[in-house]
Symmetry: D2
Subunit: 411 residues, 4 copies
Amino acid sequence: MNVDTLAARYMAVRKHTLELAGPLSEEDCCVQSMPDASPIKWHMAHTTWFFETFILETHEPGFRPFHPLFRVLFNSYYNGVGDKHPRPQRGMLTRPPLREIVAYRHNVDERIAALLSEQTLTAELLALVETGLQHEQQHQELMLTDVKHMLSLNPLYPAYSHASFGPAPVAAPPSWVEHEAVLACIGHGGDGFCFDNETPRHRQFIESYAIASRLVNNREYLRFVEEGGYANPTWWLSEGWEWVQANRLGHPLYWRKDGASWKEFTLYGLHPLDPNRPLTHVSYFEADAYARWAGARLPSEAEWEHAVSSASSFGTHGLHPISSAREQAHGLCELFGACWQWTLSSYAPYPGYHPAKGAIGEYNGKFMSNQYVLRGSSCATPSGHARMTYRNFFPSAARWQFTGIRLARSL
Amino acid sequence: MNVDTLAARYMAVRKHTLELAGPLSEEDCCVQSMPDASPIKWHMAHTTWFFETFILETHEPGFRPFHPLFRVLFNSYYNGVGDKHPRPQRGMLTRPPLREIVAYRHNVDERIAALLSEQTLTAELLALVETGLQHEQQHQELMLTDVKHMLSLNPLYPAYSHASFGPAPVAAPPSWVEHEAVLACIGHGGDGFCFDNETPRHRQFIESYAIASRLVNNREYLRFVEEGGYANPTWWLSEGWEWVQANRLGHPLYWRKDGASWKEFTLYGLHPLDPNRPLTHVSYFEADAYARWAGARLPSEAEWEHAVSSASSFGTHGLHPISSAREQAHGLCELFGACWQWTLSSYAPYPGYHPAKGAIGEYNGKFMSNQYVLRGSSCATPSGHARMTYRNFFPSAARWQFTGIRLARSL
Amino acid sequence: MNVDTLAARYMAVRKHTLELAGPLSEEDCCVQSMPDASPIKWHMAHTTWFFETFILETHEPGFRPFHPLFRVLFNSYYNGVGDKHPRPQRGMLTRPPLREIVAYRHNVDERIAALLSEQTLTAELLALVETGLQHEQQHQELMLTDVKHMLSLNPLYPAYSHASFGPAPVAAPPSWVEHEAVLACIGHGGDGFCFDNETPRHRQFIESYAIASRLVNNREYLRFVEEGGYANPTWWLSEGWEWVQANRLGHPLYWRKDGASWKEFTLYGLHPLDPNRPLTHVSYFEADAYARWAGARLPSEAEWEHAVSSASSFGTHGLHPISSAREQAHGLCELFGACWQWTLSSYAPYPGYHPAKGAIGEYNGKFMSNQYVLRGSSCATPSGHARMTYRNFFPSAARWQFTGIRLARSL
Amino acid sequence: MNVDTLAARYMAVRKHTLELAGPLSEEDCCVQSMPDASPIKWHMAHTTWFFETFILETHEPGFRPFHPLFRVLFNSYYNGVGDKHPRPQRGMLTRPPLREIVAYRHNVDERIAALLSEQTLTAELLALVETGLQHEQQHQELMLTDVKHMLSLNPLYPAYSHASFGPAPVAAPPSWVEHEAVLACIGHGGDGFCFDNETPRHRQFIESYAIASRLVNNREYLRFVEEGGYANPTWWLSEGWEWVQANRLGHPLYWRKDGASWKEFTLYGLHPLDPNRPLTHVSYFEADAYARWAGARLPSEAEWEHAVSSASSFGTHGLHPISSAREQAHGLCELFGACWQWTLSSYAPYPGYHPAKGAIGEYNGKFMSNQYVLRGSSCATPSGHARMTYRNFFPSAARWQFTGIRLARSL
């Protein structure tokens, strides 16, 4: 990507963050609903901090920070950068006010634009800018899932968007796409951007398997719920069963029982549960239990990536997953743009993996324990961010992302 | 108090709440810093809910609620009224927005004004209005202490007020005011307003005692800190010592060590610790430990009330306690308008106490366990709210109120 | 008490501790069922440590400890003595074995006997021995309540005693014993032994009141249970209601629902609930809630002591409270030897109270916060330990002692 | 294995359990030191329960349980069998006494012997007996690690064994054993016993790697400790760093700083840290951090198994790991009989894995989340229990097993 294209892309990505905050009030942007989630304002500041800290601080002549304390306030988890404001207290930052964060964004944008207009930019610097944009896109998705969680705790069930939320197309039954055993190449090997955790490209042997053509939908999952799936330890991992009992769970995160019928809280507000939409907001434990109940299992990430092989269509941005019969790769639909898909693969380094040098090396590698890989992308993933080799990851009890289920089985 | 005076007082008290929120942004008004504290916006709504629920709902012809869900959202702890939004989640209510709460206030104010302009008001109704105003004044004090706690968690240490914060007058050493043993009458017996917990007026026998003429100040308490008071179990109640160790405490809530010197966070921002100001923001445990270290004890509430006997001056409203040599009663100064004063008296019903009938009877009596009585009033207590017989109460570890220490001893 | 009598009493009290452990195995004596309870073996060692540390260490010529580490292992809470083995880990001490603790007891007994056979004993030393014996008697009661709690967690419901457990006599309805307002003298003033918290004797004014002639029994309390007492916040202190809900409580500690009927776990094993026995094993919160439901209240400790005035009969030792119509003082029965009786009085120092000097001063005073006073004595209180002025105290949620309810009301 | 051999083996394995309890008192056998550990007595009963429930109950004519409640008391985690006594309360079971558990063992042993002496035993039944013996051997190892944990909490540091504990041989520096990339066959494929989680044998592609010839020893790990390894987030996984900070850790579980020198608590008591012994009792987090500090990584379980390829020597039973230069397979020593070796592989099903039918299918599969695989065996592993394909597994913070570190790296 040349510099001019990158500068334009920089402006577009940065603008989109402000657009996402558009429907929200100052109050909406300030509150933190749980330690795992961050306030919208914090996302807006932290993504800016990333550019200021990793690019301007080392590349801008005569660098002076926008505000000396922001280095601490908006550091997420980079020990190499120094102190951090405690994560569970991000919601206490009523000051700086939202308008000052917006000013911070504009200030850094101008300085980055000035930097990008220079003649002698190194490839390393351009790569850092691209990393910053990819980082910001990740936070754009989190902005939607974090604000959804916060709004869901409000008995008024406020809608983020007032656009209409109609029924999805009826989904045909899924089919099984079968593959022979194969020594596959996995991981990112091309020229475009990828995160370090997608490398190096390497070989994995995959025994023969089948993978479902589409995601599990609400109609299917409702059967599991209504047949007592959450009350029967047979279906659950031991740890999952403890989690269900300790939290007295009986349904996905945003489902609400309303008399005899079910509703679902969405970014469009509270609506009757649409049986044809892909199931979303389930944990790894729920995905695994459902798969066992259905006589199947989750795919490994190598199976998933091998089954996709190549993809050209990455879905469209939206605020809730919708069913789609459009094939995105090799007989598979709903790979991208609906729900992240839990795999049975623990998040671990690929053979030969090395994190980047310095603080930016803390981006991925240090989270490689007790998390599970999700593949694909969701309705909330920004355009241009999805990739066949992308490795998303969350702990096994996390449910506030747009997470869903694609089944697989061994042959 | 006649109706016209009451109507004017109603408008003045209600207006003062809005004035207190004046220096705060929408964000400041929304966030909850701990379960014990409430957002400013919630205080503004809850005090309005009190008038709507306890007065309009039963006295307004054709009553219709401003918003049907507000009955739940802004109920604090009245089980008799029905469901409640969970206390620790008050900070999640980014909606309704602040402007809607202000509209709610105006709406209820107009309807109360209309009610008060009628001809046939019962004494019971007028008493309810007065109770609502006293209730609102209590929340006015909490607004200041709650927002102070929230701002204290922000590394920017934002000031609520930018007024100047100069040094206080040098305080003379305290003297002991002595009293013979006496069968005293305690509790409220006159005509004016009081809460039910101040009644009935009754007899208590008090053995001879002495009480300090003024509050403990920062200079005196600093000696306790610097002589290792927080590291020596000798001075502490067993429970207090566990509290100190579990929380690794070494100083009052808002003191901050800055190199070799001490600072104090105030509503005026972070300032050097003023040795002459009354010590404030200490728990019962700290007050008790300091008293033991000083060879004294805390007064009982009966001693305190008997020592005051009658008071005509109740201090002035402000944002931080200031030392004062002005005698408020019988050789005692700093009784009112500086800090609430911990007594060694557990909060318990007076002999013959009966709570009011109905949900409003939940106001005081149900909190009479494992709390300690504080007497006097603080700089944050609204004008006209303090009383000689007033019984404030907090758990023994609470420190976010303007709480201080007046010593006593047995003779 | 002369020295010979004291020596004989020493041997009798010490022997009784071993008798209490008689029905228990080594395993029974080792396990700790909760942080509030201690293993039987630990009680046996700690009471011996008390004599070794507070008497032998300072009075025995050429003192050498039985085992140097026991000073730490068996210190309960005396900071003045030095380090302590953490309370929740007392049950980890499988070593020293029980037989070594018994040897420790015999060794200290011989050395105390030698000391008591000397000519020149000071009054202070004799008083210390008496304090040690009273201390041991307190632990004798705890041995029974602690082992009962441990056995109750075993699904086999083992009996501590296999003696027969027959029905109690039918109890007549209670009557109200009325008293005029009075300036009463409260506290210990005579010659015999008392703990420092019973002094000094002082004056308290008591408004007119009535007190129930006997304890609340299981039949009466069962009505409260079956009429939904645990499901109605009306009856409960706010803190008590939170406690009921957080722990999902619906009955006293050792009641068990068995189909349509109720059973009670006792030291005699699991038996049908006897409607005529005094209710026991309730917390302050339950006592207070029941009293409110019954249209009454708990007595203050001054009322209780004044109502008793003088008592000559202190009940008999046993393993479960039994109903009794035998008057123990001024129209009152079941004062002593059945259940400790919750009062509404917070545990606080009497006016002029001073704890003893040195580590032994930590015996009582440092616990004077957030606990409630209980009066009387229980079936588990050793003979000769009860006293009219005795002040027992426990936190408001404690239920594993033999605690019951005597009602009172204001006139 | 024919029936007679199996019967003899049954008696030998069962006898060994009693031998392991030999040095322990009744008290030692009863106490539970943490929820993850079980009392010795419980292990003795549960292993017996396994034979009674899975073999006698279905195969013994006229089966009657030894004690009807034992089915609940000694069920570990088999939901298919019914209720379970809560795991954290296993230490409350002072009854049944140890001697009754021993009687239970003898009773079941006689009945199993009778069953094995019959003519018509199915292969399925013989396999179940073998599973029961393997299960008992697993618990034999836990008996040692659980009692070690319990004894370590006793300030007397009691020794399980009084045998001498001399210094280990000086260990030569480790060498790297290198392997080319290979498509390897992994998992159990032969005739002998294995657990279901070792199957099916399947293919895995392994990129080229090197593996250390021996385990990390105390001298090497001490450098990590003394160079501040526990204070530097650089070396730690994010989750590991939180764990270190939350628990304020600075060394392996049983190391104790004594002035300037280090000691280690062993089953032989507290001894000076032996620099030549293999490091043991570290968590996955510590193993991973040390490997990163050392410029290496942990092996995958496939690498470990491929590197071993075939092994004939499985070390010897003991009570603490000892260094050894004896090659056990292909240039590798200390594979078996010293410490279990953390791998970077999350515990997951092999491709095509299916758990057994019925309750016994709960043995392994339901634990396949958020645990890491350990390979090899430890000094506490009973003779005849180790296997090249054996997959042990524990959560990433577990340290009370004999766990150690073998390094690897990618080539």
